[in-house]
């Protein structure tokens, strides 16, 4: 039920996330786009769990836990970078250039 529209929404969300990561410059926005992709995946899991059993729902909790941890670490890194560079533009964060 509603599997097709759910997956469609998921694909749209995921693609938006990818595009945001690829083309935005602000680290916070990139970060939010990553969260968007994670949630798109979560939506896929939920939608498919209706047919394939409850494991998908369990995994969604794992993903949310990891995303929360990631958010904590990622925001901490961004605060560190901002203190260092006074900017969150990823174009300027290229210390590892070969």
């Amino acid at each position: 039920m509603l599997l097709g529209p759910a997956l469609t929404v998921s694909v749209i969300l995921f693609s938006l996330g990818v595009a945001g990561v690829l083309f935005r410059r602000n680290a916070i926005v990139i970060f939010m786009c990553i969260e968007l992709m994670l949630n798109a995946v979560n939506l896929t899991f939920i939608a498919l769990a209706q047919q394939l059993g409850p494991e998908g729902q369990v995994i969604v909790f794992f993903v949310m836990a990891v995303a929360a941890a990631e958010a904590a670490v990622g925001l901490a890194i961004m605060i560190g970078i901002y203190r260092h560079k006074n900017s969150l533009n990823v174009k300027e964060i290229n210390l590892l250039r070969g």
Binding site: V21, L22, F23, R25, K91, I93, L95, L96, R97, G98
Partner: protein
């Protein structure tokens, strides 16, 4: 095999033991000269005594057909190549063994006196012991590779001892020259070994010589190439044309070394090799003739140079080259016993001459040392009249001179005459042998001349050493004159080993060596002279010797000779001879300089700097850096780029999975 023949390994082992002990002493206790002398000479005495015991067992029970072979251990067991470390005791090797150990022992004793004040005393004896060890390996080895160990080992010791006073640059260079020229010869030896193995599948003397008649055809290309390659080895080791120029330079070493290595033993190794491989050489008439011709040419060429040298050791060096030429003439015409006979007698009288010259140089060196003079202690123009100061040395050296000049009754007369007689006997086949015979005769005349010249200038006439120095000239101590007297006895009586056929008790050595040379007899014409011819040749040899000696005695006036510092420069032929026909200069221009030029311009500046350093070493680094640069462009440090490639990669992976 008689039980005591099994002790032959001791003959070899004793000198090696001496080398180890003296080598250790040279590091630990360089001042313990008494211990060094005791060990150095003691091991030689033990070795000689053992050699005599072994030899007497062989004399009592000579091997027939097969030589006694003492297998020590299997050295190279590699498939069909089986090389054992084995010692061969037969009629030929015991003669060589007795000559080597006997002469070495006397020269070791002489060295105690000669080298007494040298700071490198233990090192000297260590090298000398090591040399005897390798020389015995050379003559006792039962196959080509074992002989080659000895062959290389004596070359090494020769190098070490020529450059014994290595602080002196020209002396060290002389050592290098000897080593490098010997390497050219060794290359020939190696090639010959490869070819022998390829043809016969074995390298031991017994099997090679037994199979040679089946494997090779007489006068064939293979056997000719093998024997020519072997002879190339001989020309290096035994100082024949064209590789002889190292030997006169080798006189830079201490005089007893010149006596032992560069006169009596090592340089005769080539003659031994030809005599040992007599079957191979007899099957290759072209090579044999080349051996004889090179020998005759060397005999004459070196003799001409010897007539005009002023350095007493240089005279003897060229004399040695000349006499080695005779030996090669002997083994080249197929008179193997005659070659070994001359080797034996030559070992006595040439060792005596060198040691005698050592005694003279020792005396002059001390005289100049005492007065702080700087004149050359080896230049005959600084000698003269020494018989009044050193009667023993003068006496024994005259004996050796008469022996080498070929005065009847002395050993050299019989051995040299036999070689010339055998060469003459083969004149029936080809006139070329008569030419060799004439060349040998002229060389004999020159030999008598230059030896008498040397004796006249050294021991007769007024003394030119210097008035102040005369008070310091004196005879050598008994430890030096003793060996001289023993060698003098040998120089007189060694001729009895092989008297001419017309005399009673003739040809002992010839018959003794027959089991060794019988394999080659089938390929050689019978070399026999009628009694009348033989008497005629003996008479002619006497006339030649007398002419040479009396000619020198009458024409040379030692009284008119000036000391080296006042002597006028030579001109014309004299200068040509003094400068040794400019052979060293010719070699320098034709070989040394081109090699240096190619090494410098091509090998160093193009191949080494350009190709090795430029292309390989720096080139690979540059290539790695260039590839790395391309990779490093991806490491932009921009997260967007990384993610782009990540996404791109993910899409490609998914595509691959979903297909």
């Amino acid at each position: 095999m008689p039980a005591s023949v099994g002790w032959v390994w001791l003959v070899v082992a004793f000198p090696f033991l001496g080398f180890l002990v003296n080598g250790a002493l040279s590091f630990v206790r360089p001042d313990a000269k008494r211990a060094v002398s005791t060990v150095g000479v003691g091991v030689l005495v033990l070795s000689f005594v053992t050699a005599v015991v072994v030899a007497s067992a062989v004399f009592a029970e000579p091997p027939h057909g097969h030589a006694y072979v003492l297998l020590l251990w299997s050295w190279i067991p590699a498939g069909t190549l089986q090389v054992d470390l084995a010692l061969q005791v037969d009629q030929l090797s015991i003669i060589m063994m007795l000559v080597v150990t006997g002469i070495s022992m006397l020269i070791h004793v002489f060295s105690i006196g000669y080298m007494r004040e040298d700071p490198g005393y233990p090192r000297y004896f260590a090298y000398l012991n090591l040399f005897v060890f390798f020389m015995l390996i050379l003559v006792l080895g039962a196959n080509f590779p074992v002989m080659f160990i000895g062959w290389e080992g004596v070359g090494l010791c020769s190098y070490l001892l020529i450059g014994f006073w290595y602080e002196n640059r020209p002396f060290a260079d002389a050592g290098k020259k000897a080593f490098i020229m010997n390497r050219i010869g060794d290359f020939g030896f190696l090639i010959a070994m490869f070819m022998i193995f390829r043809a016969t599948g074995t390298l031991s003397f017994a099997s090679v010589f037994a199979e040679a008649p089946q494997v090779f055809e007489v006068g064939g290309t293979t056997i000719t190439l093998i024997t020519l390659a072997l002879f190339l080895g001989c020309t290096g080791k035994s100082a024949q044309i064209p590789l002889y120029t190292w030997l006169p330079d080798a006189m830079a070493g201490p005089t007893p070394v010149s006596a032992l290595i560069h006169a009596a033993t090592m340089v005769t190794a080539g003659v031994y090799l030809v005599a040992r491989s007599n079957v191979l050489f007899a099957m290759a008439p072209v090579s044999s003739f080349a051996v004889a011709a090179v020998g005759a040419a060397t005999a004459l060429f070196a003799a001409t140079i010897a007539t005009k040298q002023w350095d007493i050791k240089k005279v003897l060096a060229y004399s040695t080259i000349s006499q080695l030429g005779y030996m090669f003439m002997g083994v080249g015409v197929g008179a193997y016993a005659a070659g070994i006979f001359h080797l034996t007698t030559h070992a006595f009288f040439k060792a005596l001459l060198f040691l005698g010259s050592g005694s003279v140089i020792h005396a002059l060196h001390h005289a100049y040392h005492a007065t702080h003079g700087h004149a050359d202690a080896q230049d005959m123009r600084n000698m003269g009249g020494l018989r009044r100061f050193m009667p023993w040395t003068a006496g024994v050296m005259w004996i050796a001179t008469l022996a080498i000049a070929g005065v009847p009754g002395f050993s050299g007369f019989f051995s040299k005459d036999e070689i010339l007689a055998m060469t003459f006997a083969r004149g029936h086949e080809a006139g070329a042998f008569y030419v060799l015979w004439i060349v040998g005769g002229v060389a004999a005349l020159l030999t008598a001349f230059y030896m008498t010249r040397m004796m006249l200038y050294t021991f007769h006439g007024p003394n030119r050493t210097g008035t102040e120095e005369q008070g310091h000239l004196h005879e050598a101590p008994w430890v030096m004159t003793g060996p001289l007297v023993v060698l003098a006895l040998g120089s007189v009586f060694a001729g009895a080993l092989n008297l001419p056929e017309v005399l009673p008790g003739a040809g002992w050595l010839h018959h003794w060596l027959e089991p060794v040379t019988e394999g080659s007899a089938a390929y050689l014409p019978a070399m026999h002279l009628e009694g009348k011819t033989e008497w005629l040749l003996l008479g002619l040899a006497t006339v030649i010797a007398a002419a040479g000696i009396l000619g020198a005695w009458n024409f040379l006036k030692p009284a008119r000779l000036l000391p080296a510092s006042e002597a006028p420069p030579e001109h014309g032929l004299q200068k040509l001879l003094l400068r040794k026909w400019y052979v060293d200069e010719i070699y320098d221009a034709l070989v040394v300089r081109p090699v240096m030029w190619v090494s410098d311009r091509a090998c160093w500046k193009v191949v080494d700097v350009g190709v090795i350093d430029g292309l390989f070493v720096n080139g690979s680094a540059t290539a790695a850096r260039a590839v790395g640069w391309i990779g490093s462009r991806l490491q932009s440090g921009r997260v967007g780029m990384y993610v782009f490639f990540f996404v791109l990669g993910s899409i490609l992976v998914l595509r691959a999975f979903l297909r």
